[in-house]
Amino acid sequence: MNPESFSELLDLLWGASLETLYMVALSGFVTLMAGLPAGLALYLIDGDGPLPRPRLHRVLSTIVNIGRSLPFVVLLIAIIPLTRLIAGTSLGSTAAIVPLSLGSIPFFARVVEAALREVDKGRIEAVQAMGGTLRHLVFMVLLPEALPALLSGVTLTLVMLVGYSALAGVVGGGGLGDLAIRYGYLRFNTEVMVATVVVLIVLVQANQLAGDWAVRRLAHRR
């Protein structure tokens, strides 16, 4: 069933875009909520960090590395039982959020860890010398000082999630990538292919520009 008219094409694109946005937004949110504490923990318990727990760090780091080493399409299929357990089903956009999140949490955790490492050690010591607690270290120094880098990391992660979400079609998640594969690739429908590519580019661009704007605004102030 090729789209017969322009409006039908628009309907297809609109629906797929909403699915993509839904998946990216929700998995992005979950990634942020889980990846930020994970990255913070990675930084804090590092051997050179403010709360050194080298053995625990090695365990956490290994888990993150395992998560990072699986190609997303493999992860997507490998964790289908887990997806079913969490989402109740292994099919559809909502189910796709489970592998999408699991795939990007380790990535984002590393991004957070790297951003925190860039915070000047002297500023951390300055707050320690004031008698600051761990809470002060995190909320007075680490997060505010790393905020521009963290925002860049969020942009990076969201762009990556748009890419990952293209594979969600494998588990019936729909979205723009799925549309491109089904119409553009399997049915040689060039119009849908081109339109999908255009929408994806616009989506990623908008995301990147918004991120850059926020970072610049912050940097400007400092």
Partner: protein, 328 residues
């Protein structure tokens, strides 16, 4: 505030583990710092002075020894009590270490937030501090909008915010130009006089010690070479610090007629004319100078005596004037 707290360091050691070997950075330091004084610790890089000052607020954990601030042994504190005691010790840094996400005022307020001071009180205190360090009206500026000297002023205000007994200065002027350095040193002295806060500073610049310190110590290879009040050091001919603090003298042939004179305080100001009257003819002045050290003028002069001068009588005369002399 219980100002003018003395610091007594006893048997302080710090060993670093380098590839399984313990390397001493501080090798048994004993040092008394008078409460309310400005005390300078001099040394080359690698002498251990940074380690020493960082032990004073436990940014480094000492391997052994005691650090008494008043009656409290800082070296023996557990984490909770350490955090509380750290509020008695402010610190300023060579590279300022201000929080870039905060304005000058918010930086200064940070120690107050940690101490749990309420917002209206914080605001009041921050305004006072901005005034004290000469930055009134600049509170809303971010560190990136301030010059090096202004950043250090914010650093000083921040360090003083929680009314500390001690201010530690880790090469605070080493990143600043000469004029700004002089201004910051003036500010430190002013703060010391007004608040009675004990200041411990480390520096590799002799001029810093000369211009504001009451006492000084020399650190070499993790050991204390000497320490004392500046006026005692310059009066002590065997003191290396004393030698450095005094004006340099030119080389002369040792023919028994050249005298080095040293004096501190009032007795020496008119020594040349007094000696001329005593001898009946005037000695030649070959070199030397008078410096302000720890608020008093100290002189070091090289003179050549006339041929027929009687050395014993000259020494006796100089002795009555409290001027130390030696044949060069």
């Amino acid at each position: 505030m219980t100002a003018r707290q003395p610091i007594r360091i006893q048997g302080l050691r710090k060993d670093y583990n380098q590839a399984g070997r313990l390397v001493p950075a501080l090798d048994g330091i004993d040092l008394d710092i008078q409460g309310g004084a400005i005390f300078g610790i001099l040394g080359r890089s690698g002498a251990g002075k940074t380690t020493l000052i960082r032990c004073l607020n436990r940014l480094e954990t000492p391997s052994a020894g005691r650090i008494l601030l008043g009656e409290t042994d800082l070296a023996a504190l557990g984490p909770v009590e350490l955090r509380r005691q750290r509020r008695r010790i402010g610190m300023i840094f060579q590279h300022f270490h201000l929080l870039h996400s905060r304005t000058a005022a918010e930086n200064i307020a940070a120690p107050l937030e940690i101490a749990g001071v309420t917002k209206p009180e914080r605001q009041k205190r921050v305004d006072e501090l901005l005034e004290l360090v000469g930055l009134a009206g600049r509170g809303k500026a971010y560190p990136s909008q301030l010059s090096g000297g202004q950043k250090q002023r914010v650093g000083i205000a921040r360090a003083l915010a929680a009314d500390p007994d001690v201010l530690l200065s880790d090469e605070a002027t080493s990143a600043l130009d000469a004029e700004t350095t002089a201004q910051i040193l003036d500010l430190l002295r002013d703060v010391n006089r007004r608040l009675g806060v004990t200041i411990v500073l480390i520096t590799h610049e002799l001029s810093v010690v000369k211009s504001i310190c009451d006492g000084a110590a020399l650190l070499e290879g993790g050991r204390l070479v000497e320490a004392g009040a500046l006026r005692d050091l310059v009066a002590d001919p065997s003191s290396r610090l004393g030698q450095w603090l005094l004006p340099a003298l030119p080389e002369v042939p040792s023919d028994g007629r050249h005298l080095e004179l040293r004096y501190g305080g009032r007795g020496g100001d008119t020594i040349l004319s007094d000696l001329t009257l005593h001898l009946g003819q005037s000695p030649a002045l070959l070199g030397g100078g008078v410096e302000q050290v720890a608020g008093t003028s100290v002189g070091r002069l090289l003179i050549r005596l006339p041929h027929d001068a009687d050395l014993d009588s000259v020494f006796a005369f100089l002795g009555t004037r409290g001027v130390w002399a030696v044949v060069r």
